[in-house]
């Protein structure tokens, strides 16, 4: 170097410290292989060097790609990620005892319809995980959903071309009543009631309950809906002899974090009712009890409607206990915590106190070697590689990378067991853990899969079928109809009878009309919802898929740039 000698050798030493550090980084960069790489610990492909042509240089894409490469290959990256979490997490002190009243409008409600897409991030991590544009997935999935919403027409259409075979029909009214009898006396043992938390008044507006920096959905299922869901699980068991069928329903945050004095038992009673009505051959999975034992842990996002990876882990542990499998201990799985997730419920409410305190996404990677491939429906061809877990994603999309019609994970486990998970987004986090205990895990999103599950079971030699969804979905006819429909996708139309009409018309009955027995009036006086606002049972979801299918997700997601969807 040609700097002039200095009177102060200390200055040279101090400067050289920085020169040395930069030199280390530059040298380490120079040694990074240029080709595409996979980060085994993160279970995802790192950005490769971009292809630079005249066009990509002029558009800036080449330089943007290079910046992404630098970011992905930065030396000591995981160390720095840890530091950044530490800095982010210590900006101040978080206490969550304050209550805010929010106004939710019709337009806001429409936004929750895209809640899953929001929570999973429509941006980079979804694309990264699935290789699909978000809109592409929805377009692929959309037509079936839309038709389904239009009552029985599509089911009639299903006959053409397919040879008639047994179909899982909707239960009759009498059958449902019979199932409901099994639920008699289902109550929660007193000691199992969730600890009440928080203090002060609570606002319950349009199905959302805001307390301090946490937003929860208010549960409003019914006994009849529970019976209808149980009948579908029973139908799966009857239709798939020799296969173990499980129901693993996810409770939501309201069962664990309801404010003091608020009767939050509805959801847990509803899940218990479903379990009580399962046919005798089906072994129960007591998710709620297992989770209650860990109620003080971080089981639910405060800003999103999903459970966390940790919450889903305890469902997995409960499942393993029933299934006679050894659950992998939580602390033996590679773990990664990403701060800065603002989920669907923040997007919907925009309560600043919630937005000022983003969630952490705790991601556990399986201890086995997993290679996952994504498929459309039916599952055919070689598929394409996709991520099972995205350890760096700052959204619920960390689990399975988002919602795909179908995925197949092959693991290094050798025990002859193969699982098929029929799920909505709640099942994503749950399914990731199954890779620890099954040779193969097939994941089917019932909302987007338009083929026969029974065929998949036979063709792939599935040993365990697990229906894993949120408890809200079990109580919503759209979701039940989808799960029922895909068992034999091309079967003959089910018998039309009184109960069948429930499929298209009962939304109002379930959703807003009857006060569901479980969701009794809260002890704390709710802020009166305006009369035109439909009330609580996740009315958004059935309406959701149709508009979402028409309007591609990017336009629909109320996205503040860069706050939630981006993977680091």
């Amino acid at each position: 170097m040609s700097l002039q000698p200095t009177a102060n050798p200390w200055h040279r030493a101090a400067s050289l410290l920085f020169v040395l550090w930069s030199a280390i980084v530059v040298v380490l960069f120079a040694q990074t292989p240029a080709g595409p790489q996979r980060a085994e610990t993160e279970n995802r492909d790192l950005a490769g060097l971009p292809e630079c042509t005249v066009e990509t240089v002029l558009s800036g894409a080449c330089m943007g790609g290079f910046d992404a490469w630098v970011s992905d290959h930065f030396p000591f990256r995981s160390l720095f990620l840890g530091w950044s979490s530490t800095i982010e997490g210590n900006r101040g002190i978080s206490l969550a005892s304050d209550i805010t009243v929010i106004k939710v409008t019709e337009a806001d409600l429409a936004r929750l319809e895209r809640a899953d897409e929001w929570a999973e991030g429509t941006g980079s991590d979804l694309a990264e995980g699935s290789g699909l544009e978000p809109g592409e997935e929805l377009a692929a999935a959309g037509s079936g959903d839309e038709a389904l919403l239009g009552s029985g027409e599509d089911e009639a259409a299903g006959t053409e071309g397919g040879e008639p075979r047994a179909s899982l029909r909707a239960p009759t009214s009498a059958e449902l009543t019979e199932l409901e009898k099994a639920m008699e006396g289902v109550e929660l043992p007193a000691e199992k009631a969730a600890p009440a938390s928080g203090k002060g008044a609570v606002s319950r507006v349009a199905g959302l309950l805001v307390q301090g920096d946490r937003v929860m959905q208010v549960f409003g299922g019914s006994r009849r809906a529970a019976a209808a869901f149980a009948s579908i699980v029973n139908g799966y068991a009857a239709a798939l002899p020799g296969v173990r069928v499980w129901s693993v329903l996810a409770p939501t945050a309201i069962s664990f974090h309801a404010p003091k004095g608020y009767d939050s038992s509805g959801e847990r009673v509803n899940i218990a009712q479903i379990n009580a009505a399962l046919s005798s051959g089906i072994r129960r999975v007591d998710v709620v009890s297992e989770m209650l034992q860990h109620a003080s842990e971080y089981l639910y996002f405060r800003t999103d409607h999903h459970w966390t990876g940790r919450g889903a882990y305890y469902a997995y542990a409960a499942f393993c206990r029933s299934a006679g499998l050894a659950a992998v201990p939580l602390d033996s799985m590679p773990r990664k915590v990403n701060r800065g997730f603002l989920g669907s419920l923040w997007a919907l409410t925009r309560v600043p106190a919630v937005g000022s305190h983003p969630d952490e996404v705790e991601v556990f990677s399986p201890v086995t070697k997993v290679s996952a491939r994504a498929y459309g429906s039916p599952i055919s061809g070689a598929g394409r590689p996709t991520a099972w877990v995205l350890p760096n994603a700052r959204s619920y999309g960390a689990y399975l990378g988002g919602d795909l019609p179908a995925m197949v994970a092959t693991t290094s486990v050798k025990n002859g067991r193969k699982a098929l998970v029929i799920k909505n987004s709640f099942g994503n986090a749950f399914a990731t853990f199954l890779a620890n205990n099954f040779e193969e895990v097939v994941v089917i999103d019932y909302r987007y899969f338009n083929a026969s599950v029974a065929d998949v079971v036979v063709e792939r030699g599935i040993t365990d079928v697990i229906i894993s969804a949120g408890a809200f979905a079990a109580n919503t006819s759209y979701h039940r109809n989808r799960i029922r429909k895909i068992l034999f996708y091309n079967g003959p139309p089910p018998r039309m009878d009184a109960a069948q009409t429930e499929g298209s018309g009962s939304q109002a009955a379930e959703g807003s009309g009857q006060a569901p027995p479980a969701a009794a009036a809260p002890a704390v006086a709710p802020v009166a919802p305006s009369p035109e606002v439909p009330s609580p049972v996740e009315p958004a979801v059935p309406r959701a898929e149709a508009p979402a299918a028409v309007a591609p997700a990017p336009a629909a997601a109320p996205a503040p740039e860069g706050s939630a969807g981006e993977a680091p």
Binding site: M1, S2, L3, Q4, T6, N8, W10, H11, R12, A13, A14, S15, L17, F18, S22, A23, V25, V26, F29, M63, F66, D67, V70, S71, F74, R77, F80, L81, W83, S84, S85, I87, E88, N90, R91, G92, I93, S94, L95, D98, T100, I102, K103, G212, D213, R339, G340, R350, V351, P352, A353, G355, S356, H357, P560, G562, S563, E566, A567, P568
Partner: protein
């Protein structure tokens, strides 16, 4: 490229420095510096780097013309031609849409609104070249003979995209002949680390709060929320802008250039006049020297000149009417201070001046933030209670959740680092082990700031670039 990016910090800057210091020859070094500056600019503006080259060529040629015909009418013609081209480009690229939209709104016409992306840094480099040609015309500096050296002056990446607005006279001598020393390198690194930390660890975090509290439903956040959002915005814009200036000045030191200070702890000011002596100093002096004084200063039509200057100052910050209002608002305050307010404030305790300044600055940031006039009315209304006190509980939660960060940010608004640096310099002068302690402590602190900022960048925290409008 932006300073606050891993590519810049860990590839561009080290490699540029390596090439630069590889050979001790001033022409070689100037060529390297020019080439890397063009790469720096083209990284973010691969197309409009041509405009930068064009603009530099035009101004270089005009400088020569002005000098050649000094004292004759051709010199004036060249000056006018140069101003027309520069202001024309600025007008076309920056104000085209505003002009046509305004005409369409006011007159019964429907002109097509041009959709041109604003080339980054155009306002900074255009002002630099205008000041150059005017200075040549005034005979204050000789015209640059070498097109290379002139291009280096215009494109020097230290201050190309976010200031300070450097004048040719400031660095002309250093382009030809500059001293590089380890003292300068150390001073520069220290300054750079401080600026980077201000941008990444303070401004970017503040930006998230701004987004949360000001971009949503204002009626919901109420007065309390609006003030919290504006406090965050005041911190964001100050730490972002002054952080960039720190980094520019620091890099200047490393490469042997000495740029003037651009910020001097503006939030400790006690009047709007005082504030503008401390805020974006290079812009204020530009308007003083090239607009206000030529118009006659305070001697003839002082008030008219003052409002012209402040209207233009506002407009410089963005092609939107709220910026003009923002500028005129300061014009009004400064006029009032000149007429009577300053005298009153001087008689009152100092605290009153501080409170007055902080209040008017917060209001000014509300004007600055709302590029939509409807939104501006709503925000001002909300600030002053139109939507009630608002979400006090939510504000309390947010304050608690950010209290350590907020305390650090507010402390850094005080001339704290100046005090520490003075203390450290005193220690160094004392010599011996004290000198080792001062430099060693400084180096560790600077390294900690750099690593913290690096971690935040690797962590992919929200990192907005706020100069796209300038």
């Amino acid at each position: 490229m932006v300073f606050a990016s891993l590519t810049f910090l860990y590839l561009f800057l080290p490699i540029s420095a390596l090439l630069y210091f590889a050979w001790n020859n001033i022409t070689y070094r100037n060529i390297v510096l020019t080439l890397v500056s063009l790469v720096f600019y083209a990284w973010g503006e691969p197309v409009w780097v041509t405009l930068l080259l064009f603009s530099s060529g035009v101004d270089w040629a005009h400088g020569l013309l002005v000098e050649r015909f000094r004292g004759r009418w051709q010199a004036k013609a060249a000056l006018i031609s140069c101003l027309t081209i520069n202001l024309g480009l600025l007008g076309a690229f920056k104000y085209g849409a505003l002009i046509t939209e305004t005409l369409n709104a006011v007159l019964p016409v429907a002109l097509p609104v041009p959709e041109v992306a604003l080339p980054v840094g155009i306002s900074f480099y255009t002002f630099q070249t205008i000041s150059y040609v005017v200075d040549v015309y005034r005979g204050e500096i000789p015209a640059a003979r070498s097109p290379l050296k002139f291009l280096l002056f215009v494109s020097l990446f230290h201050q190309l995209v976010a200031g300070p607005i450097v004048r040719y006279a400031e660095i002309a001598a250093e382009i030809d002949n500059r001293v590089h020393s380890w003292d300068g390198a150390w001073r520069g690194l220290r300054r750079f680390a401080k600026g980077l930390f201000k941008k990444v660890c303070i401004a970017n975090v503040a930006a998230l709060l701004v987004q949360t509290w000001l971009d949503g439903d204002l009626e919901q956040v109420g007065a309390a929320g609006a003030w919290l959002g504006l406090l965050a915005f005041a911190l964001q814009i100050y730490f972002d802008f002054s952080g960039y200036s720190d980094m520019a000045i620091g890099m200047g030191w490393m490469f042997g250039f000495h740029y003037s200070e651009n910020f001097d702890h503006p939030y400790v000011a006690r009047s709007a006049t005082d504030f503008w002596r401390r805020w974006h100093i290079s812009l204020g002096t530009f308007f003083r020297d090239y607009v206000y004084i030529p118009l006659g200063g305070s001697r003839s039509n002082g008030m008219r000149n003052l409002f012209i200057v402040w209207g233009l100052t506002g407009l410089w910050h963005g092609a939107s009417w709220n910026f003009v209002i923002w500028g005129l608002y300061f014009g009004l305050l400064i006029a009032a201070e000149r007429l009577f307010l300053q005298k009153w404030l001087e008689r009152l305790p100092k605290a009153v001046g501080h409170l007055y300044l902080l209040f008017v600055i917060m209001v000014s940031w509300a004007i600055f933030y709302s590029t939509d006039l409807q939104q501006l009315r709503l925000l001002l209304g909300t600030m002053f209670g139109a939507a009630g006190v608002g979400d006090l509980a939510g504000v309390a939660v947010a304050l608690r959740a950010n209290m350590f960060w907020l305390a650090a940010a507010l402390l850094l608004c005080l001339p704290l680092t100046s005090w520490t640096l003075r203390w450290s310099d005193d220690l160094e002068v004392a010599g011996g082990w004290r000198r080792g302690l001062a430099v060693g402590g400084g180096a560790l602190a600077a390294l900690a700031l750099l690593l913290a900022a690096t971690a935040m960048l690797v962590g992919g925290t929200y990192n907005p670039f706020i100069y796209y409008r300038f």
